[in-house]
Symmetry: C2
Subunit: 227 residues, 2 copies
DNA sequence: GCAAAGCAAGAGCACTGCTCTCGAATGCGT
DNA sequence: ACGCATTCGAGAGCAGTGCTCTTGCTTTGC
């Protein structure tokens, strides 16, 4: 793709960006439910129908926002786990967890968009999975790079789980023992689940604010992995 | 409340039930997003405006469905953990987990409604919390009734967490040690988080179908609690 | 038996996502 | 430098939404 482009192409790109930007603003202030194409167009001073030259549908706009959110969260985590070169694996694990929670609390609607109920009937095109994988891969990177202490043997892996884990390990972490990989996936779910619970009010009246419980959970999962 | 009621009251009650029933049908087939008051009214052969005599708003109808879903899930779990009188604590734990997943897979939209993104701006009136508590209390009941094996001391409880856990224990499980209670909450989050991941497609391409991973997680959490 | 309360229905408002059409601006090949 | 095809913005319009208000009718309680 050449750096030199026609005025039309540049205008198109810029407008596409502006639309996403305005949509994101509305998303952040009112949530995905309330995101309205007409309101976006209104705010941008254009006809609502003109918007369809840039996004074929509301869902397509949302999908673009989903990818952006995954990417942003993934980058935040990646940056956190690599920020301190001399940091121990446990410190990097902690940093990754904290960065994830911080991002989620700063962008609750974006978090809900990617880890909450899928908004349309269910549209996760291939394009999203790469962006979606960045957070778990960043966390997994910490585990892979760490000298793992031995951990108590857990329950035996039932049924097809060893095979599933082997397939997963094949492209994500070939050197990791299957139980460790399983615990890493568990930790990822625990991370997202806990943040979701906190954000969606399921801990109100018990462990809310969840700051300390979150920190404890980070340590507990690190322990379970042998970090 | 007397068993004898005016025809009007009986009609009102019956219609309220029918509205919820039809709403639930639409919820189950298309999700909360698509639930339309007008469509419900249409299906029931009445004017949409008449519906507002029974539910003040769409959100109120949804809240009613939320309470029903919490209750149903809670009852399913309660039944599961008490079904086999002679069962061991671990077996009852397993049964509670399985029942939760089974219900969620049979009622994915209902599950998303209660444990996904809050649909309105955020309306969790007091009425919902009692119903919402049934599932975690049912699972906690298994832990309380069990003779717990000693478990490795986990990370120290940071900051205000001991106090939060003490408050929680005060009305939910006074006899449980704080770390065990914390692990129980973690297990609850793990349960819901894992089901959410499975249902919302976050495990596609890795550990989906999640049946075996789910079973393994149930064992792992039971281990961590000393069940 | 009658006033009061509860009720259903219709019209209507302000929205929504989305489509189609039509003139204007733009880019490319000649 | 011109002409044509593509791209674009805007407007009108469709079908649908949640919700309100008014208008009559039915049931209830005194």
């Amino acid at each position: 793709m050449p750096a030199i482009r026609t005025a039309r192409e540049r205008a198109r790109e810029e407008l596409t960006r502006e639309i996403k930007q305005e949509a994101r603003r509305q998303l952040a202030s009112a949530g995905a439910q309330q995101l309205s194409l007409r309101a976006v167009a209104r705010e941008l001073g254009m006809a609502s129908s003109a918007l369809y030259r840039y996004f074929a549908s509301r869902d397509e706009l949302l999908t673009a926002l989903i990818i952006d959110a995954y990417t942003e969260l993934g980058e935040a985590a990646e940056h956190a786990v690599t920020a301190e070169p001399g940091a121990s694996a446990r410190e990097r694990w902690r940093a990754g967890w904290q960065a994830t929670r911080d991002w989620a609390r700063a962008n609750p609607h974006e978090f809900a968009l990617i880890y909450g109920t899928p908004v349309p009937g269910y549209a996760a095109p291939e394009t999203t999975v790469e962006a979606a994988a960045r957070l778990p891969l960043a966390l997994l990177g910490v585990v892979r790079a760490a000298p793992l202490r031995p951990t108590p043997a857990g329950p035996t892996l039932p049924g097809a789980l060893p095979e599933q884990l082997a397939n997963l390990a094949a492209f994500a972490a070939p050197e990791l023992p299957a139980p460790t990989l399983a615990r890493a996936v568990s930790a990822w779910i625990q991370l997202i689940g806990l943040i979701g619970f906190e954000l969606h009010g399921h801990l109100v009246g018990s462990l809310d604010p969840a700051t300390d419980f979150f920190a404890w959970t980070a340590e507990e999962t690190a322990d379970s992995l042998g970090l």
